[in-house]
Structures are given as C-alpha cells and as structure tokens.
Amino acid sequence: MLAGFGITSVPLALAIALIASCAIAALYGWTVERVAYRPLRGSFRLAPLISAIGMSIVLQNFVQVSQGARDLNLQPMIPGGFEVMRENGFIVQLSWMQVVITVVTLALLTLFTWLVTRTPLGRAMRACEQDLKMAGLLGIDTNRTISLTFVIGAILATVAGMLFLLYYGSINFFIGFSAGVKAFTAAVLGGIGSLPGAVLGGLAIGLIESFWSGYASVPYKNVAAFSVLVIVLIFMPSGLLGRADIEKV
C-alpha cells in the first residue's frame, strides 16, 4: 500500500508494492484465522460470526488509529488511454487503467478457477466446505486448508484494494465496509459456492449500480445494490447459479 517510493520505474514500483502488500495481507489472513476463527471451530453457532465482526472492527479501527482517518490520495500512476469510437461528437474512451483492471481480473479468475477445480488444495477446500468432520476423517489437513483459504482470500482482497487505489486515487480506512457488503451481495446473487456465479453476480451488481447512478440517482446507488441483495434473498435464495441448500441433520 505504501511501499514503492524511491523507485522511479512505475511497473517495478507497482510490482514491489503488490508483492509486499500481498505478503503482509497474507500474514494478516493467517493470523486472523489463527486468533479469531480456529479456537471457535465447534463453538456455538453465533460465536465465529461475532468474532468475525469483532475482528473487522479491530482491523478497521487499527488502521484508523495508526494511519489517521483522513483520505490518502495518490497521483494517477497509469495515465492515458485510447479512443474506442467516436460518433456524433461523443467520444468513448478506455483508459489503460480500465484495461489493466480487466486483464488482472480475468487472469486471477482463470488462476482461481484452476486452483479450485483442478488442484489438490482446491479439492480439499471444497471438501471442507461440504463437511469439515468428514474431510478430516479422510485425511485432509483441515486446519492447513482453512488457513490457506484465508491467505488466498486476503491476497485476492489486496489485489482488489490496489486496483481500487490506482483507479480511484483515494483510500481511507473505511473503504472495505461497502466493498465487503457488495462482494457478499455479488456472491449471494450469483449463488454461494459457485465461482462463475460470483463473476456473474459481480458483473450484475456493477451494472445495476452504474445504470442506477446514470439514470436514477447517484446518492442512492448503495441502496440500489443492497436492495438487490434483499430482493434476491426473498425470491431466489439460492442465487442465479447456486444449488438449493439442503440442510442435513
């Protein structure tokens, strides 16, 4: 997040910053799992949830206390773009930054799909999601799998955070809040547990928000996104591509 000073080349600076912040975030993911989740496995239903809320409050306020509550701004690092089309004097432009975001997202998506569907770790992750106890009985190191999942999640969030900073040029300690709720909305809309569903849900949320901002009102764009969440939960609780959740006793 803050590294990369003293280095003049932009790509090199970005790469170093990305690797450093991914490493730190991975450490955070691991520590959070170790401190706030692992001791609670097998505790009562609400315990991990409350602990998670507590942890998110801790992290947010820790950043606020240590880095201040004001917005931090960054000069655009990847300027410019190119013209896609011009018609009736209107120019449709695509900035390099938007290209970078799309490429990075697609690359990570491919990598992640491969990871979950093709690798032993992915198989172990899916097994743990379905039945933790059974996965453990079958010789999967469940603790290691869950830790790694947290690390991967943290790294993905870091990349998203860097893209956010580069694109919008301004961050504060609170950006994670609405991003988190929207990410969850996207996941629910697409169907929990389905990777293509999450992509579809993310796209849908983004489009709904943009169109809402364009044609209805900008201040209410978060309301629009959150309302989608509520409507989906009422009418299609399993999302667009999810499977119906059958609870076994």
């Binding site: 239903r45 809320i53 959150f226 609780p237």
Partner: protein, 443 residues
C-alpha cells in the same frame, strides 16, 4: 488442568515466532505513517512504537505460556464462576436498581447525564438481547430501529406538534413495522447471511436518511425537537403556569429537567426488562430459546418458525424505537450521524459481553463500557488539568478495545462474562442448556 511445562528453549522459540509475526503485521501500519498535507504526503517513521509493540507481543506470549504451567489446577472454572455470579445476581440486581433510583438525588448534572447515556444503552442492549440473546438471530442493523424511532418522534413532533407521550407508542409501532419488513426477507436465512442482510438494512436506512433531504432534513437532521412534559407540565424557566417549577412552587433549575429525563429512561429501560422477563415465561419466549439452540428441532416440534422470528424482530425493534424516541427528545436534535454501524456494533458488544440472554449481564456490560468510556475521558481531562500534555486520546481507541473484547470473549468465554445460560422454564432441576453441551452428552 495444568499443561506440561515446555523447555525454556521451546518457549523462547514460540515467543520469538509470535514476535516475528507481529513484526510482519505491524511493520508498515505502525512503523510508517502517511499524512496528507498541503505540500503533499509526509512520511513519518515510527520505529520506536513498532519496537515497543513487538516486544510486548514477545513478553506477552512468554507470560501466556508460563501461565498455562502455573495456573493452579483448582482454579475456579468458568462454570463455577458463573454459578457464583448467578447467586450474587440475586442481590446485585436489586442493589443496582436502588442505586439507579436514588442516584440523581445525590449527584450533579454531569453524573446524571452519564447515567442517562448508560441507561439508554442498557435499554438498547435489553432490546437487542431479545433478538440476539433469546432468539439467536444476529442483528447487525439494530441501530436502524433506533433511527426509525428517533426520526418518528422528531418528525411527528416538529410537523404535527404531537407530544412525547403520544408519539412514543407510535415510534415503537413504526419501528416494529420496520422490524417485520426486515424480518421477512431474512426468514429463510442462516446466521451469516442474516448478519450481512441486517447490516445492509442498517446502511439503507442511514443512506435514505442522509439523502431524502425534503423529508428528513438530510445531513442537517431535524432540530428544535420539543422536550417531554410531565402530565402537560413543561420544564423551562419561562414562569408560565403550566411549567413544573410554577405548578409545584419551586425555583426553576435545569437539573429538574435532566432528572425527569433520567427517570423517564429508567422507566423505559425497566419496562423493557420486565417485558422480556415476562415474555421468556410465555410459550413465545420458550420458542425463542428453542429456536436459538436448534432451528431444525423447532420445526420438528411444530413451532411456527416464521411467527417466532418475526415477533422477535418486531419486539426487539419496538424497544429500539422507544429508545430512539427518547434519544431524540433528550438531544433535541437528530441527524444521520448518530446512527452509524459503529452504534450497532457497540450495542452488540454490550449484549455479547454481558452474556447472550442475561439481563443483569447486559446492564453490567453497558455500565462498564459506557461508563468506562466516560471515565477514560475523565482521565484525559485530569491529565491535561495537571499540565501533562498528552495527545494520547483514549476515546479514539474505544472501538478498537471493543472489537478486541468481542473476539476475546468469544474465544475465552463464548457465553459471555456473566451469564451461564439457564432455561427460563425447566422441569425439576435447572441445568445449563446449550446445543453443543447436548452434543457432547453433557446436556
């Protein structure tokens, strides 16, 4: 049970690893600080603070490992402690009540003001306790109902000039309606989904309050909200025949109004307590507690889960609405700023720390947390009055401490600091209930 002592080398290695992790975690966020100034970013280096934190982690880990060895085998287990607290609860609760009733008679304005604040949170805590503690539905948007109540009173009183006592039930009713509106979409949801949706709901209400300027006044809020009256007697120094001071032939002082407000919130809080204690004995309350422990078993026993959940939301919301109306009349001013997620988290922390489901625990937690914050502010004032210039702002760390407390309580004592869960209704001897205890064959 004492753990086997580790060899010193292993202990040192363990603590060293913890310190290394801490170093990695904090090297950027504590070691460096970016401050935006007019001339651009200024990078500040704080290696000393970093060293202190890492050293603290190292020593703390060593002590923790040593404590595991030293801890006497006969140390009171949490369960014994909980039982002791339960027994002492019999006289602690009435004692607290007596103190609460006589407090304003013997103290100044500042103490009464703090008392009002604490009681507001006690009431909110008891209200949320119905939803989270009894019915087991994690509601992260409780502040939305608080906001609905506050804005209901503010708008009814400034637009239609309704009095406090007329609007109070209306505010509660409106909040209950919103509780049901929130309840419907989340009926089929499991814990984590429910939490996020309630969180989003709280945000929606706040964003609407900020942006619907023509109705709510937007970020400027609603001001000049009338104060409550005592059977039509106002509390001001105007000398009118319908003021409290003139009617009773006493000199007017502002303390009278503050004291009146104090007793209003005390009454409201006790009403909340009384209603939830009574409800727990009704079939409805028993259904809530059953739902909290096992939803599937509830369905199998023929309990109407829909009605049970909706009533929990509605009744919890009603008390949130009452508290909101009181908040509006006490402040004389409401704005969306008062209804952020932080507030929801604070009330949740009170309920969790007090022990989900425990009335006394929630009251004690509110007293400690809200009173504690005020005490910290007092320490700050004391330091600066002694001439010690400290830029260390304790109140800034409040939420950080609450967050840590949430995690620590869940890890160490998930049933809360005070409560041992005892069923409201039992056949024969009362034993602790909990789904996981049953699963372990101890139920």
């Amino acid at each position: 049970m004492s753990a086997r002592p580790l060899p010193p080398a292993a202990m040192l290695r363990d603590a060293g690893l913890s310190a290394l992790v801490a170093l990695g975690l904090f090297v950027v966020l504590i070691g460096l600080k970016l401050t935006p100034t007019d001339a651009g970013m200024v990078l500040e280096q704080r290696w000393r603070a970093l060293a202190i934190v890492v050293a603290t982690v190292f020593v703390g880990r060593l002590l923790m490992l040593q404590w595991r060895v030293w801890r006497p085998a006969s140390a009171p287990t949490p369960r014994v402690l909980a039982e002791a607290l339960q027994r002492s609860g019999r006289w602690v609760a009435p004692l607290l009540l007596v103190v609460a009733v006589v407090l304003p008679l013997f103290s100044g304005r500042y103490v009464i003001d703090v008392g009002i604040l604490v009681l507001t949170y006690v009431m909110l805590g008891w209200g949320l306790n119905i939803v989270v503690g009894l019915a087991g539905l994690l509601d992260l948007g409780y502040v939305a109902f608080y906001a609905v109540g506050a804005y209901s009173y503010a708008l009814f009183s400034t637009t239609f000039h309704f009095g406090f006592w007329v609007t109070l039930p209306v505010a509660g009713l409106l909040a209950a309606c919103w509780g049901v509106i929130l309840g419907f979409p989340v009926l089929r949801l499991r814990g984590d989904y429910l939490a996020i949706v309630t969180l989003a709901f709280g945000e929606i209400i706040r964003v609407v309050l900020i942006n619907w300027t023509s109705f709510t006044g937007g970020p400027n809020g609603v001001s000049d909200i009338p104060r409550p009256t005592l059977f039509g007697l106002k509390f001001n120094g105007s000398g009118d025949p319908d003021t409290f001071a003139v009617f009773f032939g006493v000199d007017y002082s502002i303390t009278q109004r503050i004291m009146f407000l104090y007793y209003v919130i005390l009454g409201l809080a006790l009403l909340t307590n009384w209603v939830s204690l009574r409800l727990r004995r009704l079939p409805l309350g028993r259904a809530w507690e059953a739902l909290r422990e096992d939803e599937i078993a509830c369905r199998a026993l023929g309990i109407d889960v829909t009605v049970t959940k909706l009533t929990a939301f509605a009744i919890g919301a009603t008390f949130g609405g009452f508290a909101g109306a009181f908040f509006a009349t006490r402040q004389g001013f409401v704005s969306p700023e008062s209804f952020t997620f932080t507030e929801s988290a604070l009330v949740l922390a009170i309920v969790v720390l007090g022990g989900l489901g425990s009335q006394l625990g929630v009251a004690l937690a509110a007293l400690v947390m809200i009173g504690g914050t005020e005490a910290l502010r007092f320490v700050n004032d004391l330091l600066s009055s002694l001439g010690i210039q400290s830029d260390f702002d304790f109140t800034q760390y409040r939420m950080l401490v609450f967050g840590i407390a949430l995690v620590v309580v869940m890890v160490m004592r998930p049933r809360g600091l005070v409560s041992g869960r005892v069923p409201s209704v039992a056949l024969g001897q009362r034993t602790e209930i909990a789904a996981e205890l049953v699963a372990q064959g101890r139920g």
